[in-house]
Amino acid sequence: MNRVRTGIFLLAGSAVAIGYWRLQTNATNTALPTTQPRTASAAEVDALRVELRALREQSSHAARVATHAAAASESAMTAAASRIGKATDGKSTVPPPQPDDSGAKRAEAFGRRLSQEPVDRAWSKQIERSIKQAVDEAAPTAEVVEAKCGSTLCRTVLKHENVETRRNFPGVVADKEPFKHGATYRYDPDGRGMTVYVSREGYGFSETARN
């Protein structure tokens, strides 16, 4: 019985090892083709397809990470250059502040999501009240211009007293209902205005509506 079990295990182990070895061989052959003509079997082609898909996924992930790194690095260089009053090309100039375009696009997408999703009347009334109460308690000088909810997302437009009270706001409401379940902030260029998208508990920040 033990011999049979050992035999089965040896066979399974060999199959896995051979499969892995062939995957590696395929990768080598793709990079460095041999001078001998090769006839690819269907299994080899399938294995190569799987590997190619994985490589594509890895490369798109690497590109995303690189884009973020490049953006962060460029912004840091620009900020450093503006602090010393010189642009990165060496000319003496202070670049104007750049609008955060990605934030604007995201806010537009959330606006579309909110307008497309049905309204859960009971939930939306309760959360709109809760938003006003949290703002009154945590930031009494802020004015709630709008509080509107659908079924998974709410939009709150606020006018703050000044830049400093606006800057502090996310920190003071972060642990309050309903902000504690997830809130994302868009800062108006005027220094006082702010739009907050608040996610319903258990939902998230998809830019498209669920119907």
Partner: protein, 168 residues
Amino acid sequence: MKKLTMVASMVLVSLVAKSNAHAFDGWRNGAECQPATAADAADLVYSQYGVQNMSTTTARNVICPIPTVLEGDVTFGFRAYDRNNLFVGGNINNISCNIVSLTLDGAIDTSANLATSGGGPGAGAQEAELTIFEMPAHWMWQFQCSIPKVNTPGHFSHLTFYWLQNAF
């Protein structure tokens, strides 16, 4: 037989690891957190048990690094010992952490909160966890935590570990 099992397991593990290359699992000790201000630093003590607040008068804040890009569904959590059972404004004092993503200017882009509940002298470890769903890829994240003051001598609240899980 044992050697064969080991070889087969190693091959299988390497195959599984290759197919799940985008997953990120991170555990960090609370001792890696920085004091939020110089005043906070005066009351914080660091050890293998993480970071603890020694103040008998005020809660102290720490900022904990998350040095990675996160995207999609991201789960954050922490393990802490909440030894404070004082009520403030109808709420009991808890260890409370905001998970925040920041803009390049340092402003808060997105935030969510998780906290312990109850607690008191001699209380055991608590774990809190939440998931933020469908986040766009973001580069700068932080855990910002408030650790309550000591209200019974010798019973310090401390943040031992925090973690995140992200598969994208």
